[in-house]
C-alpha cells in the first residue's frame, strides 16, 4: 500500500508517497481484510469508493456553477481534486462514527450519507437546508449521519473531535471520531493541544491532514518549519508518522480502516497526512494563479476520478457499471439542485429560533 509509517517501518512498505507528487501505487495491493483473492479490495468496496468520488465530484462541479450563477451566495470551498480522502474515510467509517470537518466540508458531509438535496439547499440559503439556512456552505452538519459539524475557525474542531472521542470512551460505545483539516492547520496551537491530549487520554480519534500544499494563497512549505506539516509533528506526540497518497481512494481506505480499527480497539489516536491538491482555487472564484502551471499540470494528471476509473476498468469492472454510477450521481445532483432551487427561503422569524435549547432566543424576562 502507498501509506508509509516512518517511525514504525514494519507497518509500512518500501513504497514512499511522501514527496509532493505522490506515487501512483501500482504495488498498492497489500493484503488487507477486504482484499479479494486476486489481490485487490473487494469489488463492493471499490465500487463504493468510486461512487463516493463521483458523487462528490459531480456535486462540487454543480456547486461551483451555482456559485458563478450567483445562486450560492457568500463563499464556498470545494474539494475538487481531493475527493478520494472523503471517499476513503466515508467508506471505512461505521454509521455511528463521528465526522468533524472544516469549511471545506461538502465532501465529508456527503460522504457520510447526508441528503444531497438538504446540502444543496443549505448552500442556496433555503429553509430546507440541513441547517435551515443558518449554517451555509461552511457549517454543513447532519448529526443523524454522524456529520458533527463543519468548523470555519482554523483548528477549532480538533479539540472538539477529542471531546466526542472522549465521550465515546466514557460511554464505551466503540465509536470513533475522525477529524479532517488542512495543512495550514498544523501551525495553529489547537492542533498541538489536541494531539497531545488525544495521546495522553488515549482517545479513539483519527486526525486527517488533507495536505493540498496551500493554505489560502500561501504555500505551506513557505511558512512551516518541517517538510511534512502533519507527519513530521507526529513523533512529538508519540505517534507514528503516516503519509498516504490522498488521491488514491483505496490507499486512503486502507489507512483509514487500520487507524479506525486501532482507535476502536482502544489503541488510541492516529495522525494521517494525506497528500492531495485542489483543482481550483481556495474559495469562491479564486483562479489559484499563485500556483505554478507545471505543478497544477502534474497534479491534474493524478486526478483521482479518471485515474481510479481507469484502474477499476483494468481490474475487471465493466464500463457499464461505472457509467451507471456516474449517471446516478448526475441525476441525484440534478434532483438536489431542483429541490434546492424550488425550496422557500427561511421565514424571517427563523433567525430568532434555536439560540437556546428551548427553541428561542430570549435573554431576559
Amino acid at each position: 500500500m502507498s501509506a508509509t509509517t516512518k517511525s514504525a517501518p514494519e507497518q509500512g512498505t518500501d513504497h514512499d508517497a511522501d514527496d509532493a507528487t505522490p506515487a501512483t501505487g501500482d504495488d498498492a495491493e497489500a493484503a488487507t481484510a477486504d482484499a479479494s483473492a486476486d489481490g485487490h479490495l473487494d469489488d463492493v468496496v471499490r465500487l463504493g469508493l468510486y461512487e463516493q468520488v463521483v458523487r462528490i465530484r459531480t456535486f462540487e462541479e454543480r456547486a461551483y456553477r451555482l456559485f458563478m450563477e450567483g445562486l450560492v451566495k457568500g463563499t464556498s470551498h470545494l474539494s475538487l481534486g481531493m475527493e478520494a480522502i472523503a471517499a476513503g474515510f466515508g467508506e471505512a467509517m461505521r454509521a455511528d462514527d463521528y465526522t468533524f470537518c472544516t469549511y471545506r466540508g461538502h465532501a465529508h458531509t456527503l460522504a457520510r450519507g447526508t441528503d444531497m438535496g438538504g446540502v444543496m439547499a443549505e448552500l442556496l440559503g433555503r429553509a430546507t437546508g440541513v441547517c435551515g439556512g443558518k449554517g451555509g456552505s461552511m457549517h454543513l452538519t447532519s448529526v443523524e449521519h454522524g456529520a458533527m459539524g463543519s468548523y470555519a475557525i482554523i483548528g477549532a474542531h480538533l479539540p472538539i473531535a477529542n471531546g466526542a472521542a472522549w465521550s465515546a470512551q466514557i460511554r464505551g460505545t466503540g465509536q470513533v471520531a475522525v477529524c479532517f483539516f488542512g495543512d495550514g492547520t498544523t501551525n495553529i496551537g489547537a492542533f498541538h493541544e489536541a494531539l497531545n491530549l488525544a495521546k495522553v487520554w488515549d482517545l479513539p480519534v483519527v486526525f486527517v491532514c488533507e495536505n493540498n500544499l496551500y493554505m489560502e494563497y500561501t504555500a505551506i512549505g513557505d511558512v512551516t518549519a518541517v517538510e511534512h506539516p502533519a507527519a513530521d509533528r507526529a513523533s512529538a506526540y508519540g505517534l507514528p508518522s503516516i503519509i498516504v497518497d490522498g488521491n488514491d481512494p483505496e490507499a486512503v481506505y486502507e489507512v483509514a480502516t487500520e487507524a479506525i480499527a486501532r482507535a476502536r480497539a482502544g489503541e488510541g489516536p492516529s495522525l494521517i497526512e494525506a497528500k492531495t491538491y485542489r483543482h481550483g482555487g481556495h474559495s469562491r472564484a479564486d483562479p489559484g494563479t499563485y500556483r505554478p502551471a507545471e505543478e497544477v499540470e502534474a497534479w491534474l494528471e493524478r486526478d483521482p476520478m479518471p485515474t481510479y476509473r481507469a484502474r477499476l476498468q483494468e481490474t475487471g469492472i465493466t464500463e457499464e457499471r461505472l457509467e451507471e454510477i456516474e449517471a446516478r450521481a448526475q441525476s441525484d445532483v440534478d434532483a438536489a439542485t431542483e429541490f434546492a432551487k424550488s425550496s422557500p427561503v427561511p421565514e424571517l422569524q427563523a433567525a430568532y429560533t434555536n439560540v437556546w435549547a428551548d427553541g428561542g432566543s430570549s435573554w431576559r424576562n
Binding site: Y98, F100, C131, G132, G133, K134, G135, H139, T141, S142, V143, E144, M148, G149, Y151, I153, G155, A156, H157, L158, P159, I160, A161, N162, G163, A164, A165, W166, S167, A168, I170, R171, A177, G189, A190, E193, A194, N196, L197, V200, W201, A350, T353, N354, V355, W356, A357, D358, G359, S361, S362, W363, R364, N365
Partner: protein, 325 residues
C-alpha cells in the same frame, strides 16, 4: 438544619451533588483532581468519583473546552474549569465562537449542556493578568448563559442549575469570595437561572450588584440607613438570562438606581441595565441612573491601589447620596 460553609467548599459540594445526581457529569481542568484545584475548591472530588470522572488536563485551555464541547454534543454533561477567567482569552474561540453558536448554526441539531467554571475578579492583589472581571465579555455573546453567585448557597444551587441546564453556561466564581462563609441548608439544592434576589429591601434607591459587589452593596446600604437613606439591594445572580422584571419593579418603587460593577467601565453590564431602565421606565425615575465601576484601567497589583479602584463601600455610599439629593 443548616451549616455554615465557605464559598470554596460550596463549589466542591455543588459539583459532588451533581456528580451523584447524574453519572454523565464529568469534571476536567488543570490541577483540579489530585491537587483539588489551585483554590482548593474541588477537593475530595477525585477521591469520591475517581479519575475517569475527575480528570487533570495539560495546560491546554483550547483542548479543555474542546473536550467539553465535543463531549457535551454526544451525551456527556461536562464541567470544565478554566483556572482564572483571564485565561479565557486563550480559548476565546471556543468560548465565543464555537460553543455559543453551534446550536444556532446547526438549527438545533446540536445541544451543548456544559458548564465552564472559572475564578473571576480582583481583590487578591494578583495584578492585571489574574484579576480581571470579565463577566461583561461573556454577556456580549449570544448563546452563552452567564452566572455569578455571591454566596455559598447560591454557588451550590446555581451550579446545579447550570449543570442541569441544556445550554452552555459560563459560571464565574469571584475568587476573593472563596474564604467567605454563608449558611447552607442540608440536602440537595437546585436553584433556577435568571432569577435575581432582593437581598435587602429599601425605598429610596435600588442598588443592583453581582458576586463580590453584593456584599459591598449591602454594607453600603447599612451605612446609608444611618444617613437616612433606604437602599434596596438586588443580587442579579445571572446576567444571562437577565431578570429585568425584578429590577424594573424595584426601580419603579424607589425611583432611583445605581449599578455596582467590578468590570472596567466601558461596556460593563451596568450599561445594559441602565439602558433597559432608561428605555422602559424613565418616567418613574427621579435621579440620575448611576454606575459605580472599576475605572477604565487594568487593575493594579498594590493593595493600596487595588482597594482604591475596585468599587468600594464608600464609593457606593457617595453615589447613593448623590442620586437621592
Amino acid at each position: 438544619m443548616a451549616e455554615l460553609i465557605t464559598y470554596r467548599d460550596a463549589v466542591a459540594r455543588g459539583l459532588a451533588q451533581e456528580m451523584r445526581h447524574d453519572e454523565t457529569v464529568h469534571f476536567i481542568g488543570e490541577d483540579v483532581a489530585a491537587a483539588g484545584g489551585v483554590f482548593k475548591a474541588t477537593k475530595g472530588l477525585l477521591e469520591e468519583f475517581g479519575p475517569e470522572r475527575v480528570r487533570d488536563t495539560p495546560i491546554s485551555e483550547e483542548a479543555i473546552l474542546g473536550a467539553a464541547m465535543g463531549a457535551a454534543m454526544t451525551g456527556i454533561r461536562p464541567v470544565a474549569e478554566i483556572m482564572f477567567s483571564d485565561f479565557l482569552a486563550t480559548c476565546w474561540d471556543l468560548v465565543a465562537v464555537e460553543i455559543p453558536k453551534t446550536r444556532y448554526m446547526t438549527d438545533g441539531q446540536i445541544s451543548l449542556p456544559l458548564v465552564i467554571r472559572t475564578a473571576n475578579g480582583g481583590g487578591l492583589r494578583f495584578g492585571a493578568q489574574h484579576s480581571q472581571a470579565v463577566e461583561n465579555w461573556a454577556m456580549s455573546i449570544p448563546g452563552l448563559k452567564v452566572v455569578a453567585p455571591s454566596n455559598p448557597k447560591d454557588v451550590i444551587g446555581l451550579l446545579a442549575a447550570a449543570i442541569r441546564d441544556p445550554d452552555p453556561v459560563l459560571f464565574f466564581e469571584q475568587k476573593s469570595l472563596y474564604p467567605t462563609k454563608g449558611e447552607v441548608p442540608d440536602g440537595e439544592i437546585v436553584d433556577e437561572l435568571g432569577v435575581a434576589t432582593t437581598v435587602r429591601q429599601g425605598s429610596d434607591v435600588t442598588i443592583v450588584a453581582l458576586a463580590s459587589m453584593v456584599r459591598r452593596a449591602v454594607e453600603a446600604a447599612d451605612e446609608l440607613d444611618s444617613l437616612g437613606i433606604s437602599a434596596e439591594v438586588i443580587d442579579l445572580r445571572s446576567l444571562v438570562p437577565l431578570d429585568t422584571n425584578t429590577i424594573i419593579e424595584s426601580v419603579k418603587r424607589t425611583t432611583r438606581m445605581i449599578t455596582v460593577e467590578e468590570n472596567p467601565r466601558l461596556c460593563g453590564w451596568g450599561a445594559e441595565i441602565v439602558s433597559i431602565v432608561a428605555e422602559e421606565c424613565i418616567w418613574h425615575i427621579d435621579g440620575p441612573l448611576t454606575r459605580v465601576t472599576t475605572p477604565h484601567i487594568p487593575l493594579p497589583s498594590a493593595d493600596a491601589l487595588e482597594d482604591e479602584f475596585l468599587p468600594s463601600v464608600e464609593r457606593i455610599v457617595a453615589a447613593a447620596q448623590k442620586v437621592v439629593q
